[in-house]
Amino acid sequence: MSDSEKWAWWTLGVVALTIAAYGAFLAFLGHGPATPSVFALLALAALPTSSRRHFTGRTHDERERVIANKAFRAGFTVFWLAFIGLIVAIDFIKGWTTTLTVPVWALSETLWWAASLILGVQALTTIVLYRKGSHA
């Protein structure tokens, strides 16, 4: 398994763990200022999952770069669609001239969800492209 695949599986696991922890927080504490704290788990995605290749030589070649680029584009595209969908939904549901008062924790939670979405889709796309093949 290549370093990129290891990263993808690890990241997918971290995102799944974060979502599960979020669900547990919701069940026990309810939706409130404490719930976004579970997103600190996303920091685990930064842990290195690479093998000795990082220390001994080549880590990325052209195929891995192609897959990484496609995965990043997929993650950003899904985020962008979700972002536009959310904005349009708020406009239509709340009205164009309504003033919204949003607590900071709700805003930060939205940003955390966006980060989780990008990471999750990026990891999933990476795994699929390694399995199914990625033609340049």
């Binding site: 290549s2 080549r58 070649d61 052209e62 891995e64 033609h135 340049a136």
Partner: protein, 77 residues
């Protein structure tokens, strides 16, 4: 529905064995890529860049068209 044939076929596996049973790792090192990429190439899961195609052909001391074969289809001419 059967998947369509790949447009680019290669003879890397055969050429490796004809060159003293060269391992995927040895070829990868000489071509400057990872072994996973050689595996993906042999499995037809990845079409290499022109640069990599030339590098692999050079390792085998063969012209690139002896290593890679292009199959034109009705959709892809």
């Amino acid at each position: 529905m059967p998947s369509p044939e790949p447009e680019i076929k290669n003879h890397i596996r055969r050429l490796r064995f004809e060159h003293g049973e060269m391992t995927q790792d040895q070829l990868a090192k000489q071509a400057g890529v990872t072994r996973h990429t050689i595996m993906a190439l042999e499995a037809g899961k990845y079409f290499p860049s022109l640069l990599l195609a030339f590098r692999i052909a050079r390792v085998f001391g063969a012209p690139v068209e002896q290593v890679f074969e292009y199959h034109a289809t009705e959709l892809n001419l």
